[in-house]
Symmetry: C2
Subunit: 378 residues, 2 copies
């Protein structure tokens, strides 16, 4: 019987109040009862996305919402910019290529952040670009892109700005309307503290204009169908009822704590995590750390073993690197239903694993460094 | 506090053993622990689909699997046959049209079943048809199509046979390989007694050959990605973990009862439901009744009210008609986690509602007729 501590960048831990809702007897989705829940949920989502526009719920992984953001805005032969700094940014490129679109890729080295000036330059050189696709918090490396500045730049052009905020939304300051983001997507399994299975999407008026002219083929992800059903508090296809019911509870918890308080909590945990990593002698990875996951470089001879041993011996799940960063970094998440104590558990066990793997570290030092940060803020 | 009885053709009731699994602490999906569950689940699915081929799990509503069956087999300009006898059959047409394909529609009047001879004729006249799409149990009307005969016909041509078995699989005899079905899809919220959110798909070697040449654009529904991940017991994108964990429990229950016993149970309930409807003086709707839902015509002056009153006054949810059958039929489902007692509850309350709506019926008569059928079989 192993006790598990989930400190991965998705799925994240689910509060018992939310999990239990998933176990309630299922209700039918074409009823007043479900319509009321659905209405509460979409209103709650609008408050979290910080948008005056409608937020639609898809039955899909986050990638499904990414594809929705591509096939509903563009037409065959259209040109788009993808500003990528990691694995999830690159997924925009792959989706767009899958649809035969003309992709201008602005890729920076993994660990760096997207440069707004490069997007500005590319837009100037390509006035026919229809949309700019990028990532808010790139969890494959652990960095945050400056969406506010990018929004300022893109809003001055005819192009729309599309942002994958799957991992960052709820946990880290993100303002859809104020930052002039035309299309934001997110998913249920990160800051929303829910199981995977739901994806969310919201569009500005400027984005809707592109939807009207979009000619890429689609059916399940046809956003017009979702807009039409929204009016009657429905989804066009059978929704994952239990997840929507549980999401209502998650949103209640988010509202109770308050979005800004959650952002502050997450920021504090991130600061403590960075202190912990540094105290272990590990170099922080990433130019501008995000607040949902903390990445650090690890010696490559033991890099592949840390995550495995931590999980198998102590029940603590963190993530390793993806792609060419495999075995080179570890990623410690601290978003959603994670408290200060969880963070300390993670670092205490990480210390033991590093000692076992022969690293010369002082036991208790990472925990102490994290505690120091946490104690400074009440 | 209303006690609900869910007798709708999806979602269906969830056994408590299954529902509770959804409330367990979530686990990460890239772990040995999840891989073991995933392996059990896909093996279980193969036994239910009655196929030697792999079965893939999508995070989507059933319609997502339908789209997957279109975009992975065909290329722009390809010709296909859709044999439709209701709302769900027509969905194949809409998806194919959304992708600009050449659709030969063979639509029969709603309530009738698809004619295998018409498919044979259409295949003869159009030897360039790549695939035939149809529906197993068409729940919008309550009929069963003769998939075995259609499989025999299509297998003699170069075309592949694609069947939507979303509502019928598990509950009613369906044999993917033996009936020569090249691509079968299903979903979690019917016979699998689980919440909606998962869709399933399996392909024959003949279908895989078409996949190799398919040129329709796709990413999230690209079946090759699922095939590749299957080898390591994974899904290409974050799966709805809690639903997969609960599905393992559903499959255990299905195996414990035995597929053929479940088919027999469902057949008996359907027979009892038909007896009940007839005893109420309602004319059964549908040429060849399916075994998952029983449809009957209702007087159009009260048709729109029955479902609403039944639900609001007695907590019993059944379904009304879809499309042009709205207000003209009622649909009483009896698949999945439904027992003899549930069926009797449904008919008893239906009797009360019909009396309230002024129909001249003898109270208790439908229940008695259903009981008589149920008593005949131990």
């Amino acid at each position: 019987m192993t006790k598990y501590y989930l400190l991965t960048p998705g799925p994240t831990q689910i509060p018992p109040e939310v999990a239990l809702k998933e176990a309630l007897p299922i209700i039918h989705h074409r009823t007043n009862e479900f319509a009321t829940i659905y209405r509460n949920v979409v209103e709650g989502l609008r408050n979290v996305f910080l948008t005056k526009n409608e937020v639609y719920i898809l039955a899909a992984s986050g990638t499904g919402a990414m594809e929705t953001a591509v096939v509903n805005l563009l037409s065959p032969g259209d040109k788009l910019i993808v500003a990528s700094c990691g694995n999830f940014g690159n997924r925009w490129i792959k989706i767009a290529q899958g649809y035969g679109l003309k992709v201008i890729s602005i890729c920076v080295e993994w660990g760096k952040v997207v440069k707004p000036a490069e997007i500005e330059e590319a837009l100037k050189n390509n006035p026919d670009v229809k949309a700019v696709y990028t990532t808010f918090t790139e969890t494959s490396t652990g960095v945050t892109n400056d969406i506010r500045t990018i929004g300022e730049i893109v809003s001055k052009t005819d192009a729309v700005l599309v942002v994958d905020a799957i991992s960052g939304l709820v946990s880290q300051e993100f303002r859809t309307d104020e930052w002039k983001v035309d299309l934001t997507i997110s998913g249920s399994q990160k800051g929303f503290m829910l199981a995977p299975g739901l994806a969310f999407i919201t569009l500005s008026d400027k984005a809707w204009k592109l939807v009207e002219t979009s000619k890429l083929p689609k059916f399940y992800f046809d956003i017009k169908k979702y807009k039409k059903s929204y009016v009657t508090n429905e989804t066009p296809f059978t929704p994952p009822v239990t997840l929507v019911v549980a999401l209502e509870e998650s949103i209640k918890l988010i509202n109770k704590r308050g979005l800004e308080n959650i952002w502050n909590d997450c920021k504090l945990l991130a600061k403590a995590a960075r202190a912990g990593m540094t105290a272990l002698g590990l170099k922080l990875f990433g130019e501008v750390s995000c607040e949902v996951v903390t990445s650090a470089s690890v010696p490559t001879d033991i890099g592949g073993k840390i995550v495995k041993i931590l999980r198998e011996k102590y029940g603590v799940s963190i993530a390793g690197g993806q792609g060419h960063l495999k075995g080179k970094i570890i990623r410690f998440a601290h978003m959603g239903y994670v408290g200060k104590a969880d963070l300390l558990v993670g670092f205490a066990c990480l210390e033991m694993v590093l000692v076992e793997l022969g690293m010369k570290i002082e036991k208790g030092k990472a925990v102490a460094a994290a505690e120091e940060v946490l104690l400074k803020t009440k």
